[in-house]
């Protein structure tokens, strides 16, 4: 992945047109609704959020492998920061700073070449890093000679690192793959389509609550509809991974469809347990960063391992 590869990649250019087309279409529909006198101001705000996010994401991928890996790491750090501020872990600057550094270390292992094999991306170290990081995190109370409340702090830090750091960073590691553009662009696009589908189906046909104690607005109809859409999407975007067989496409669709909504529910119960509505205010009309990337956190590592198993990253 680099700038000239992006310019010569049919996959990248096709997605550029598809995403541009979708944004233009959505803008036109919103414009018509506004002219027709419907109140869509909150949707406009969400749409403006997309108009900022889409160029940032596509621009980062366009810049290449390094930008993508460190861009994902930055997103993971900001996401973890929101989680730390929401739970109160943030008051412990040593643990918070330690997790920041650990996420940076994930990016570095994703970026540097494997010393034995010479390929970009040292997967062995990347996969082993959690052992070292957890080892250091549980050592912090010993170094500080403190016991009171330490299990909670350490647990929050470990979950924060593993979930928001390590699992999410698999997205960055995908930048090392031969078919990086196809994988990354498909994932980003399909995960968002899945979110939109769940919302739309829920609004149109929602009758039965999916998990009323966690997220009262989600319905079984929305869930099923989104999974159905997500299973179809890989067939439409088959050019992203031409080496996939049809049942690989179904599997991929199920991962995005089910995993995406599970990721959403995970953030929902974290928020509900803490008692807050949004994880932050980073993106106007969307809430915090975690409110936007929640689905991807769950999907990225599972998709990564399916790809690795089918085809290998290199």
């Amino acid at each position: 992945m680099n700038i000239s590869a992006a310019l010569h990649s049919d996959i990248f250019l096709t997605y550029l047109m598809v995403v541009g087309g979708v944004l233009a279409f959505a803008g036109t529909v919103l414009g018509v609704l506004t002219l027709a006198g419907r109140n869509v101001s909150s949707i406009w705000q969400t749409y403006r959020g997309w108009l900022v996010m889409v160029p940032v994401v596509l621009g980062t991928l366009f810049l290449g492998r390094t930008a993508t890996i460190f861009g994902v790491a930055l997103l993971a750090i900001l996401g973890f920061k929101e989680y730390a501020r929401a739970t109160g872990l943030y008051e412990d600057w040593w643990l918070t700073g330690l997790v920041y550094l650990a996420i940076l270390a994930l990016a570095i292992t994703s970026w540097m070449p494997d010393p034995r094999l010479g390929y970009p991306g040292w997967y062995g170290f990347f996969a082993a890093l959690p052992a070292f990081v957890i080892g250091i995190i549980v050592m912090v109370p010993i170094l500080r000679n403190r016991a009171k409340g330490q299990l909670q702090q350490v647990s929050l830090a470990v979950v924060g690192f593993l979930y928001f750091g390590w699992m999410f960073s698999h997205l960055g590691f995908l930048a090392n793959a031969e078919h990086a553009y196809g994988y990354l662009l498909y994932l980003v696009f399909a995960v968002e389509i899945n979110d939109v589908a769940a919302f739309t189906f829920g609004k149109l046909f929602g009758r039965h609550k999916l998990r009323e104690n966690i997220s009262p607005n989600k319905t079984i109809e929305g869930f099923v509809g989104a999974v159905a859409v997500s299973v179809v999407v890989p067939f439409l975007l088959w050019f992203s991974f031409p080496h996939f067989e049809p049942w690989h496409l179904v599997l991929t669709g199920l991962i995005v469809g089910i995993g995406g909504q599970l990721g959403d529910l995970v953030i929902s119960y974290i928020k509900r347990d803490i008692g807050i509505k949004d994880m932050g205010t980073a993106i106007r009309g969307h809430g915090g960063i975690l409110d936007r990337v929640d689905s991807m956190i769950f999907v990225a590592p599972i998709f990564f391992h399916v790809v690795r198993w089918i085809h290998g990253i290199r």
């Binding site: 501020r85 929401a86 739970t87 109160g88 943030y90 008051e91 600057w93 918070t96 700073g97 909670q152 347990d273 803490i274 008692g275 807050i276 509505k277 949004d278 932050g280 205010t281 106007r284």
Partner: protein, 240 residues
């Protein structure tokens, strides 16, 4: 099993602009790191570029909260005073800065709040509210408030009258007030100039004052202002 108690950050639903404008600000890791780095760079720059000389450091109280008052000729006043304060207390030093100027846009707010650690002071409306903010700040132990009682930078070099705010803040309380005088600011960075010139700066710190024996009244407020005004002026005269 007892459920965990979470403690979400109090400013979790504030946008960045709101967080920067609000006071007191919730401490943030990155901001502290940036402020510390800025303080180091500022100290180096002041020593090298302006040959800053500080006299009377021993007059700064070692413990407790106190107020610093100084004449106001340029933005360098704040920067020189920041450099004179112990670097260990850099996050507890709050220069009162005009909200209508230093917090008028997001980039300005970011510099004022993160690098300078400024307290947004409303000098036009809500002046009383801002004074209450200062009082609360000083009730917490170990905070340092920097105030320019003239209220604005001088353009002539003549020191303006001290406004009554400083008097109302300290009269009848055991707060210590440290008068200071900075010389050379007007030549180095006059109002209206974009960047400072390499001119010498000389900061004199006077003995701290206390006004707890005075009953709060209009006269004593004015007396405090005049007293501080004379102290600062005297520090300035001792130069020439």
């Amino acid at each position: 099993m007892i459920a965990w108690e979470y403690k979400p950050a109090p400013d979790i639903d504030q946008t960045l602009a709101e967080h920067l404008r609000n006071f007191p600000r919730e401490p943030r890791l990155l901001e502290y790191a940036l402020r510390f780095l800025a303080a180091l760079l500022l100290r180096a720059w002041m020593r090298v570029y302006h040959r800053l000389r500080v006299e009377g450091l021993e007059h700064l109280p070692q413990q407790g909260s106190f107020v610093v008052v100084c004449n106001h000729t340029s933005h360098l006043d704040t920067l020189a005073l920041l450099c004179a304060m112990p670097i260990k207390r850099i996050h507890r030093v709050f220069p009162a800065a005009a909200a209508d100027y230093f917090f008028s846009s997001l980039p300005r707010s970011a510099v004022s709040a993160i690098l300078i650690n400024a307290l947004p002071f409303e000098r036009k409306l809500k002046g009383a509210e801002s004074l209450t903010l200062c009082k609360t700040l000083l009730q917490n132990d170990g905070n340092i408030l920097i105030i320019f009682p003239e209220g604005t930078r001088t353009t002539t070099g003549e020191m303006g009258r001290f406004r009554s705010g400083i008097g109302r803040l300290v009269v009848g309380s055991d707060l210590r007030v440290v008068p200071c005088h900075l010389e050379g600011g007007l030549k180095a960075w006059p109002k209206g100039r974009l960047l400072p010139r390499p001119r010498r700066l000389h900061l004199r710190i006077g003995e701290s004052r206390q006004y707890q024996q005075l009953e709060p009244s209009q006269e004593s407020v004015m007396a405090v202002c005049r007293d501080l005004e004379q102290r600062v002026a005297a520090l300035g005269r001792s130069a020439s």
